[in-house]
């Protein structure tokens, strides 16, 4: 009662607007303050050499998060029954394992990468089949394909580290620059343009978002939700395939177990990225920005010699700041 009265008076309305502004811009303000603090504490932080290393490190997370963003947009943002694909990092790791295995065996480059991509798309197709035709919830379907992918790659490479040495292409993607920009960063940018373009700038993408926003309304409007859901899983495996190219270079091969870290960081980047969208929803550019932000903060805190073990804490608090602010904005609007 008091709130409705105060909202009617000019002063109350103004106070409400200020509060709304503070909370809704809160995460961005927190990010900005942290970045400014880090750049003041460490001169090296904003040096181009360091920025390049941040971009290089964030590329795999950003590419995987773009894929997850598409699935979330098409399936709806209820994570339990809506769109989620936790199998992308495991599928990408499966691809990396196959590529590494082939490269060590001197298979031509193109064939090796093609084989990896086929496996990753296979996982995406399995997800699409399980969700659209078998009608499993995406969480269960992609959990099952995650377990299968991890098992398959561990079996395929005998659960040992595979090192790819002296491969020109692999090394170039790892260390090379083009026009002064690291190649992984360019691949990340390319993924953002292609996947973000499809999801946000095409008729197909807009319809896919409609399906995610309200499936029955989209269906009544004449769309076939199944197609868009299936397409979102295929787009996600496209991101997985691109990520595998970056990942095999970053690790100079494959160390088993990388998929666990990638999974949590992908999910973190995607949902932290929602802070960058005006409506606090998951978007592809947001996911990319989220991945870079998380890596930049991790890098900055390491530069000023914050205990490495505390970085998980910082990540956890970050995600809570973002999601709590969007939840509070929702409450204020009511």
């Amino acid at each position: 009662m008091t709130t409705t009265v105060s909202a009617r008076t000019p002063a109350g309305a103004a106070a409400r607007r200020v509060l709304h502004f503070t909370i809704s811009r809160g995460p961005l303000v927190v990010f900005a303050v942290l970045l400014i603090y880090l750049s003041l504490e460490s001169e090296f932080f904003l040096e181009w050499r360091n920025i390049k290393s941040i971009l290089r490190q964030s590329a795999p997370d950003a590419i995987l998060a773009s894929g997850l963003a598409v699935v979330v947009m098409a399936g709806g943002d209820d994570v339990v029954v809506g769109g989620i694909d936790i199998s992308i990092p495991a599928a990408a790791t499966l691809g990396v394992g196959l590529i590494a295995d082939q490269l060590v065996g001197n298979t031509p480059l193109l064939w090796a990468y093609l084989l990896g991509a086929v496996a990753i798309f296979g996982v995406g197709a399995a997800n699409a089949f399980l969700v659209v035709y078998v009608k499993l919830t995406p969480l269960l379907a992609t959990l099952a394909t995650l377990v299968a992918s991890v098992g398959l790659y561990r079996w395929a490479i005998d659960n040992r580290r595979i090192t790819v040495l002296g491969n020109g292409f692999v090394n170039e993607v790892r260390d090379g620059d083009f026009l002064g920009i690291p190649i992984p960063a360019l691949i990340m940018l390319g993924t953002l343009v292609v996947v973000g373009g499809i999801a946000h700038r095409t008729r197909f993408g807009i319809r896919m978002q409609a399906v995610g926003g309200n499936r029955s309304a989209a269906e009544i409007a004449g769309l076939r939700p199944g197609r868009y859901l299936a397409a979102s899983f295929i787009l996600a495996s496209f991101c997985g395939a691109v990520a595998s190219i970056v990942l095999i270079s970053r690790g100079s091969g494959l160390s088993p177990g990388i998929e666990e870290r990638l999974l949590v960081d992908m999910v973190l980047a995607t949902f932290v990225g929602a802070a960058f969208s005006p409506r606090r929803v998951v978007t592809v550019p947001g996911a990319v920005a989220g991945a870079i932000l998380v890596k930049a903060l991790g890098n900055g805190f390491q530069l000023i010699q914050v205990d490495l073990f505390k970085i998980g804490m910082i990540k956890g608090v970050l995600i809570l700041v973002v999601v709590a602010s969007s939840a509070l904005v929702g409450k204020l609007r009511q």
Binding site: V80, L143, K310
Partner: protein, 325 residues
């Protein structure tokens, strides 16, 4: 026709059980050791921790949420119980209470985020997951094990002892199973929690104390998971930081397998038990077949995909023909 319809309906409802039985018979024919009483007891004993974790998860999923931080509750429960005994000379029964209380506090934190701030459970518990993992790393120098060789015998017996010839782990699992069954499937409170999970706004309009039940769900889930952590530390006589994570995906799989057997696809206690036993049986059976370790993991994943898909799709096909009949 009318005689066939109920049979079909029955088969469609218990499709997963048919898959379960098929695997059971398969393993029994492939390995003589599989049907040994001691092996079957092994399966039950080895999956008691997963069962209590999955029961907690069932409660949260039934209320419409998910808890990605059960691993943290598992870790904290065992860890703090050990610390209480080791560094503060607390008697072991009291140490168990301490462990469960600390585990429950993880749930309090989750409830605060979900109920009070209105954050979605997935993201709230993901935040808890990061923070809880970080706390463990900070206080164990990056994840070093915390051994406790002079563990009181009573505490150790939780995992290694028998009562009336039944391993204590199985007894703890069975008690948790019974309590959850009565609470979630047979009491008015369980009905209300299911109602909240089905349609929160409707439940609220119907006068159910939604916020109160969500608090209960998250806290009970974490407290239950911490019992699993206590058993784990008792069995190993040490605490391994971040070990709880390994139960998360299996617990989610067990709950959703169970839900896929329910007529309305609801998470439910008996279904979760079947899910846990299925996961445990497949892993045990493949183990006994003497397959290569890595190949076994791959096969386990494929069986999980195949079995769930088969059970759910066959149930849809049969369900449809049953309806037309």
């Amino acid at each position: 026709m009318s005689r066939r319809a109920p049979a079909l309906a029955l088969l469609s409802r218990y499709g997963f059980l048919a898959v379960f039985l098929g695997f059971f018979i398969f393993f029994a024919t492939r390995s003589d050791a599989f049907l040994n009483t001691s092996n079957l007891v092994n399966i039950l004993e080895g999956n008691a921790i997963l069962l209590v974790a999955a029961l907690g998860m069932t409660l949260v999923v039934a209320s419409g949420g998910i808890d990605l931080s059960i691993g943290i509750a598992i870790d904290f429960g065992g860890w703090l119980a050990i610390v209480a005994m080791m560094d503060h000379d607390v008697a072991w029964p009291l140490a168990i209470v301490v462990g469960i209380a600390v585990g429950a506090s993880v749930g309090v934190f989750n409830s605060f985020l979900v109920v009070w701030l209105g954050v979605s459970p997935f993201l709230a518990t993901l935040g808890t997951f990061f923070i809880g993992g970080s706390i463990q790393q900070i206080y164990t120098s990056g994840g070093g094990q915390v051994p406790f060789r002079e563990m009181p015998e009573g505490y150790q017996k939780l995992a290694t002892g028998d009562t009336l010839g039944i391993p204590n782990e199985i007894i703890v699992g069975a008690i948790a199973l019974m309590l959850f069954y009565v609470f979630l499937e047979r009491s008015i409170h369980g009905k209300r929690i299911h109602a909240i999970g089905l349609q929160r706004s409707a439940a609220s309009v119907a006068g159910i104390n939604v916020r109160g039940y969500l608090w209960v769900a998250f806290i009970v889930a974490s407290a239950t998971a911490s019992v699993g952590g206590i058993i784990a530390t008792a069995g190993l006589r040490q605490f391994t930081p971040l070990a709880g994570f390994s139960y998360l995906l299996d617990a989610i799989a067990a709950v959703f397998i169970g839900a896929s057997m329910h007529p309305q696809q609801r998470p439910n206690v008996p279904g979760t038990l079947v899910g846990v036993l299925f996961l445990g049986m497949v892993s045990n059976g493949l183990n006994l077949m003497g397959l290569d370790f890595n190949f076994r993991d791959a096969l386990e994943g494929l069986i999980l995909v195949g079995a769930i898909a088969l059970a759910v799709s066959q149930r849809r096909v049969l369900g449809r023909s049953g309806a037309s009949a």
